[in-house]
Symmetry: C2
Subunit: 252 residues, 2 copies
DNA sequence: CGTCTGCTTGAGACATTTCAATACGCGTGG
DNA sequence: CCACGCGTATTGAAATGTCTCAAGCAGACG
């Protein structure tokens, strides 16, 4: 509510409404669209930005829109009546929010960083889906990727130790940040609380395991605890207990 | 390998190759198809049956087909190198197996009971998807339902106690068996080991929690431990710690 | 400088696992 | 019919990993 839609405090990244210049054009739900379809999408789209911590959608809410996350990072969480919370997914740029055919959100969506969504009014989008195969096909691809990721995460939640869980998450973030050069380095987008929620642990356990990994030389932690580096990725993977077949927690 | 494809030892359920008579016709991936599309599917389909315990696909296997589970029940499991196993899904009649666009199975698929699949050769199926919207749209729906289910399960694995997990699973099975009449009753398709795998617990803990629920009068267990009944479903839901918004672990 | 928020660390409580033994249901063969 | 063995389920006691509660610490900000 304290946002002026479309203004945003960053240098022009979204100033253009032109889909052709969109940074995630080739990875989002619109990836396979060309002239006509893209025009149609462009006509119905609008941008909106949320500040860190703001709620994008409440569990059970009726969402009048669907959309693509263009910038920032958001979490999907589910809750039990007594307050226990479990993060069930993370949205990164190019990820799709909402589902055609159902307007009630099955989980809460919360902005972690400044987050901008490219929104489509639901009904128009559903019509588009019905008409054209490209959006629908891409959406199917993306959903199947998310499903694979969710199942990888079920393995983590069901069978991995606290140490393995933390190592797995750090490995994921580090691979994302891929600087190619030997000492991998990454800034954590998630605080300890969000990490704990994602991993099915408590804040304290996450903190302890990070300290333990640091003591064991698996990772190094910069002051503030939000930047980590990893001298040897193989060691980290070992600590994560991963199969050698690379897991894909964050879908492409 | 000891199977004669399409023969099956049961009374005619699948004797007909006619899709119109298929028991799950209206719920499977072909639900929205009519004359032409259905003909095309019918031409490329074939049946195959697996015995209990048989492996339908190994983790990492290349599957030359996709298909629909017509009869029986199968599990999806993922493993860690050291042997820990986590079930990540269950297939019931009308569920889809495999994913278009990727031939390697990300998990192991195992028959629990006698299981029959209606198979489609992969390439033909992918062509069909590209051509016609109905299959693709239905598949998207089903995938999104599965994704919701997977996320519900993440909440269970990440935050629920052993007692709650067992109660949740029993509630699910009981709701499926829905006899409508007050004393709900169901035969468990899964043994204790499979239940433990699904719930992220050990066999012993599952057994103990079932005993505890019985002691507390929440459920009754028939001899053999494979049939359970529930005098009061509300009590079971309470023990499951569910939100009042009905969860949909098994997608439609 | 004080307060706030987020992170770390410690000690004890607790839930689940582990290891080990026992019981049950059931088909097989004597 | 009983004895036997086998797979599956139950139960017990001790070990262990994670949580809970509580305190301390560091950086950010007014």
């Amino acid at each position: 509510m304290k946002q002026q839609p479309g203004s945003a405090a960053m240098p022009g990244t979204l100033a253009t409404q032109d889909c052709g210049a969109c940074p995630i054009r080739h990875r989002a739900v619109c990836a396979k669209c060309d002239g006509d379809e893209l025009d149609r999408l462009q006509q119905m789209k609008s941008y909106r930005t949320w500040a860190p911590g703001e709620t994008i959608a409440l569990e059970g809410d009726t969402l009048p829109f669907v959309g693509t996350l263009v910038r920032g990072c958001a979490t999907l969480t589910k809750s039990l009546e007594d307050g226990r919370v479990q993060m069930v997914g993370m949205l990164m740029p190019s990820d799709f929010v909402g589902r055609p055919g159902r307007s009630a959100a099955p989980y809460e969506v919360t902005a972690v960083t400044d987050t901008t969504l490219c929104l489509f009014e639901r009904q128009g989008f559903e019509r588009l889906i019905a008409d054209t195969p490209h959006v629908s096909t891409r959406l199917l691809e993306m959903s199947l990727n998310e499903l694979d990721a969710a199942r990888d995460w079920m393995l983590l939640l069901g069978r991995k130790t606290a140490r393995e869980r933390v190592a797995t998450l750090l490995g994921l973030v580090l691979r994302r940040a891929a600087t190619q050069t030997a000492p991998l380095r990454a800034e954590l987008p998630l605080g300890r609380e969000a990490m704990a929620s994602f991993l099915g642990l408590t804040i304290e356990t996450v903190s302890r395991q990070i300290s333990a990994l640091r003591r064991d030389g698996v990772i190094e932690v910069a002051a503030g605890g939000r930047t980590i580096l990893c001298p040897d990725f193989a060691t980290l993977r070992l600590a994560a207990g991963d199969n050698d077949n690379a897991e894909q927690i964050f879908p492409d």
